[in-house]
Symmetry: C2
Subunit: 211 residues, 2 copies
């Protein structure tokens, strides 16, 4: 079979991809959410994200305001941390934290019989900063965030709740959607570190963080 | 709505997830490929990976042999690099390279009007080591690998060809499946850095790299 490559300049590949996504979707998305939904589809080639992303009231407006005010991002994987556009975030004064590989976090998790994700959320909650949580892997992180919010110990600017998987993933997302917190959640089993990172990046680019 | 969490110990979550995947699949996968296919589903919650992963002849056997002999892994994203279990790889003497952020690579790409992914493959090809390529993002990386192989300038131990997206992604994978190289490819548009990393990890765990 002869393979025919499409002739698209490096700088135009993303633009062309978004045009294909828009065309194949075939219907209009809400204007403030479209860049987020389309970037999730761009990252996964999975059009399920047109249906499964849930947004709390005015969440995009709130998220952009938080980012512009220098909110920091806490993730539950080194992969999501690697994927977030840190240059764009730094432009507003924010930085990214992931405590999953901290020896101290591993030690506390062992002692308490929890996941490291749970322990790392406790460590993050102690930061005296406006925080956005981008959870792409561990449902236990979302469950702990829910508890911290319910106990009045944490008030995040935004929770991006997109862990992926088969054990307590669906439930952990339902919990977050019941909490008093701005959220963007991928309802169901799907999500991932790539999705967590790309939602952060979509927001950063909407906020004007891209050069 | 009352949310009911399943009571699974942290150390048992992955095992339980794989059991759910096996049950829901409802049919037997080839024994040597099952851990790879199931880990892709585990990473994405997307059962399409039961259908779209393509394996060249004896590729799993060849890949495990290469890893055990200390092959190094080259990726096209920092995210995939972050996701690969480096402790497991180091056990066999291998390491992970990603040249995408190298200033030299950016410079060459600018000069040649190519993507950085293309330039980073040229840099990788100059390494005098047995190499496994794990491409989760850039189809242009796969196209360049195809050219290098065709020109007799590169003979990888394995290409994991799982870029995701809408422009030349499908075609770049078809090219690799036509080349004389062991491959694991996600046919179609799907894939990603997470999929690239998890295929590496599946192979590493099969090779005995996990503690």
């Amino acid at each position: 079979m002869k393979v025919q490559l499409e002739n698209v300049k490096p700088m135009d590949i993303e633009k062309r991809s978004f045009a294909i996504i828009t065309e194949e979707l075939g219907y209009e998305l809400p204007e403030d959410k479209a860049p987020i939904i389309k970037r999730c589809i761009h990252t996964s080639a999975d059009f399920d994200y047109a249906q499964n992303l849930m947004f709390s009231d005015d969440v995009v407006e709130k998220a952009l305001k938080a980012l512009k005010n220098g909110a920091c991002i806490v993730t539950d994987t080194q992969m999501a941390k690697a994927g977030i556009n840190k240059k764009a975030l730094q432009k507003f004064g924010g930085e990214v934290y992931c405590f999953m590989s901290d020896e101290e976090v591993a030690e506390i998790a062992r002692k308490n019989g929890t996941t490291r994700a749970t322990a790392s959320m406790d460590k993050a909650a102690a930061l005296q900063k406006p925080l956005i949580f981008a959870i792409g892997n561990a449902p236990t992180a979302l469950v702990r965030l829910y508890e911290l919010i319910e106990d009045g110990k944490l008030q995040p600017e935004l929770i991006i709740g997109v862990p992926v998987g088969f054990v307590n993933v669906v439930q952990s997302k339902e919990l977050i959607m019941q909490a008093d917190v701005p959220y963007i959640v991928a309802k169901g089993r799907k999500g991932g570190s790539n999705i967590a990172a790309c939602i952060c990046n979509a927001l950063l680019y909407m906020a004007g963080g891209r050069e």
